[in-house]
Amino acid sequence: MRAAWQPLALLALVLAVSGCKPEREGSDPDAVQHVYRHAMDGGPSSLDPAKASNIYANFLAINLYDTLYRYKYLARPYRLEPNLADGLPQVSADGLIYTIRIKPGVHFIDDAAFPDGKGRAVRASDFVYSLKRHFDPATRAQGAWLWQGRIVGLDAWKENGADYDEVVSGLRAVDDRTLQIQLISPFPQLTHTLAQGYSAIVPREAVEKYGPEFAVNPVGSGPYRLLSFNSSGAVLERNTRFRQEPFSLEAEGYDPESQAGLGLESLAGRVPPFADRIEVEFVAEDAARWNAFIAGEVDFVKVPVSQFDQVLASRDPPALRPGLAERFRLSASQESGFVHTDFNMDDPRIGYHPDPDQQARNHALRCAIIKAFDWQKRNDVFYYGIGQVFPGIIPPVTPEFEVDQDRSPVSRDLDGARDLLSSHGWHGGNLPVLEYGFTSSVTERQMFEQFRSFMADIGYAADKIKPLTYATYGDYARAYLNREVMLVTTGWTMDYPDAENTMQLFFGPNASPGANTANFNNAEFNRLYRESATMQPSPMRTTMYRNMNRMVIDDCVTISGISRTLILLWKRDRAMLPDRAFVGGFYFRFADPGPAASEDD
């Protein structure tokens, strides 16, 4: 029997060694490598830009591919900056025709998809192709909603069979370097959409050659190229053919007052991308990610809330404990998005009701529930008290946010809640059972239990608040998009820094399966939305948005909302200002990898 172990052990050894990840060609293992190691709190939905639906996918898509526009590295609030485009778009007087020129001499990376394996120059027609993909059912793209019903001829192109050789009149490459987009009606946020991963530019040859595997075989013109990718991480390598654009502090919106101590000045004039390699790890588990950071295995982390106590010496303003302050820098960045709990207005138990009296009673019930919700406690327990609670649906990160807004809608008012209930004939016995939907993760369940304890104070017995659990977010989405869930707690990540993005969440025609999960339908709100949709940002538009916000608050449609304050930490010797916003990720090319990495850190 002893002899039998040896071949078995050998087998195990062979299998073990074979389990190692092979490195793709392209890196010279002997050269000194400046490596930036990044940890993300989740994995990308896909590396195909057409399917870059979550923030992690967006981060990778915009670094492997080029988008026409990006956001300035350092300017806060975020401001647009030409990326592949050669300047901001020329817009016609009626706001319907956008003419964009792209920079010359930009090439795709070398890949077998091209003749002779050499990457060809990027042309305007590549952008046309990339956008068309979203309207081809075979792509199963997810970004079509941004341009649906907006570009002349694009929807018809799809009806006609999505033939890529057919020209779309509203989306044309005038020549190799000039692009023209014709809109059906003014769309002020168009340029913002051209900074999203969805609009990244892909070469037709590669898509046709690799088919579905194109998602794991990116061929782009971005600052980095992909070396390896699996469910636990991706390795990016500098694209040596990326256009040379020296880093200018001023052009990137540098603010000497708030950003002086970061060491960014030393990078002025250097040509990005600064890091030779970027190693991205997808670590959803908070504990693991934090430990990897503290052990020095990664250079950047979004600190999990459970660690805030150990990490922060003070909350307002957030500052690091001395031991950590020697090793790391901190950035308290506002999340570009918010979390809220919607009432399903389509459910007659809590929302719209054909009988006007019952409708009024439902309205009172909803308002009472909102008054009973303790935002302070929610903030303290789950967001360490540094989340930003605000009334309504215009989050603090948008320019339209009203700083000195009346905060009574988010202040707990038990007396008011009880009054509302009793004056409308509600009492413990006839309160409807509330069905609260969530995905069965620990935090979501705790939030549900906390909600239940809030409601107990206005007479809601614990067994009248039922959990509706779903094993995955996809399942949960299916349920609420089919209007099956009474109370829907969701977060909305903003696609661009403009409040139009959150206003559309309550626009009647966007009801489920659209983004209007509350199925809110207010004629006046809808009218104002239609009117403001074609307006450029202006004080008048801001006033309209604030009125619309008021309507959402008064109709008690949603328990809203909180924007998380993210605590980002990175190693002190890296000169950079990282972000974790949907409009972010462009900073990778500016990430300073610090001193050269040794073999084993």
Binding site: A12, G19, C20, A138, A144, A287, A471, G474, A515
Partner: protein, 312 residues
Amino acid sequence: MGYPLRKAVSGLLLILGVTFISFLLMVWFGPEQTYTLVGKNATASQIAEVRRELGYDQPFLQRYADYVADLFTLQLGNSNASGEQVSRILARTVPVTLALMLPGFLLGNGLGIALGLAAAHRRGQWSDRLISALSVTGMSISFLVIIIALQVLLSTPYGLNLFPVRGWQVTDFSSYLHYVTVPTLALVLITLGYNTRFYRAVFVEESARDHIKTARAFGASPVVILWKHVLKNSLVPIITRIMFSIPLVVISGSLLMESYFGIPGVGKVAFDAITSGDQPVLKAVVGLTAVAFVLIQIATDMLYRLVDPRVA
């Protein structure tokens, strides 16, 4: 030649049964992947489109027939979620799972055999009682508790902080050891209790047999008795146990280990496929598991014949 034929037929029936039940559960009743693949502001027609693309609107028998056909021609397709070829996903993840689970599996059984032998040899004495007590204790601790405790003790600043909390950046043997140690320890601790008990019982029964008493009467040394007689003659139940625990430990167990330690192996891939409804991956994993199980049964049979010519 009737026996191999019968075995093949029953194996085939088994595979069909497994594929049918898994298809029923995981594909027909399973989650629709539509809602993860559809954009933010989807229209009803877009949703219908995606459903059609993914094949949800076809009738049951049609989908099942396609499934079986694909499986037997090994046309595994591409993952709906990542687009990667399923065969490539498997080629990438199966070696990782094996590399992760084999050391713990082999150690757990090896140590179990050794401890079982020691306990059976000193049956009734304090060392036997100790080993038995420890076995029962091991059987009474939840897997989850062991993993959390190990993590805290070995991978965090509250403990020794020697090993990574998760991950699998394996490039050479030393990094392999670095990442596989804690999962291997966890696996050994979980299975050791059960294994030791089982093997002890087997060896005790074998030791009570007449030929062992005869050997002892003849004055053979204890070590020789243990090795040559007890162990060798217990090979049938040992092999049964090892072979039949392969699906349980290696396949089911790998799911949990990989989820918790963040290791990109086939268990996690399979679990993600089930929860998201990624049919191509599901079909491949479940179908191949069934085939593997049947093959294991056949292999076990053949091993029996090799080891014990009395088994006809």
